[in-house]
Symmetry: C2
Subunit: 170 residues, 2 copies
């Protein structure tokens, strides 16, 4: 059994998703968004992200934090902003001995959907299938965070969860 | 009197420089580099940066942290990396009620040298002059951090320090 915390980093909306990987099953334990207001000083927003994630880590005791890396389409300004949020998240992990792992959007899509070119909705549908959710996960950032967690917890676990969801096993 | 902590962010080498602005004088209290090894996991490197800066903040009790922003020449990958280090630094500030301020390299050069197009050595020489240092500040990252601190502490303080250094006043 391992618990993985997925993070879709952003200063305004940081998505998180917590997945338990247990043998051939994956279950969503938690998911949501840490929102911070644009009027707040940036350092306060980072502090809010850090403390919210620290609390979630205390609660769920994940073994690993998996973060979405930025894709190259973004500009330098937004990369700095996403990097800061990512740094605050990683720090919350490091201070509780949780190892961090970074995945590109392509790697995440490939792990979840089998193709690095999968669309947003396809990823959401696959996340719902793999985690046995009754409906598509929302908001987007939470769904993306669950996808990163699945990507990290994946491999054999993902294969088995998919087979179960499709009625091939169990 | 106000103490300003300048930061030149980077994951491998983060420069810091602490300047006391007192009426018409600016004095360098401290300066150096927090180095982290490339083999360390990124979250451990951020933790090292965070704890080193937390200690410096406890020691020098700055009123403000001034950080160099990234310029647009950089690529998205290095922007993410610089952003993470910047986030760890800002968090150390926020947790001790130190406000953060971000300046572009152009604004820093303009504040220190009077021109946004000043070269690296020109900035170093001006930092030495303004802070009354016997020689050019090294390493580069520490000099850059002192320059950001001067930029923030600047305005009237900078003008007066410059006039003193040139023997126009005092």
């Amino acid at each position: 059994m391992q618990v993985v915390m997925g993070i879709d980093p952003g200063a305004a909306n940081l998505g998180f998703g917590i997945v338990r990987v247990e043998g051939n099953r994956m279950v969503a334990l938690d998911g949501g968004v840490v929102e911070t207001e644009a009027e707040m000083p940036i350092e306060r927003r980072l502090e809010r992200i850090h403390s919210a994630l620290a609390e979630l880590i205390e609660w769920h005791q994940p073994k690993a934090m998996a973060l979405e890396d930025l894709y190259f389409g973004k500009n330098v300004h937004s990369a700095m902003s996403v990097g800061r949020a990512s740094g605050a998240a990683m720090l919350a992990a490091a201070q509780r001995d949780v190892r961090c792992f970074v995945y590109t959007p392509q790697a995440i899509k490939k792990a979840v959907c089998g193709s690095g070119a999968a669309g947003k909705e396809q990823v959401q549908r696959m996340v719902a299938t793999l985690l046995g959710l009754p409906e598509l996960p929302t908001p987007d950032h939470a769904a993306d965070a669950l996808a990163v967690a699945i990507c990290h917890g994946g491999g054999a676990g993902r294969e088995a969860a998919l087979a179960m969801a499709e009625g091939r096993v169990g």
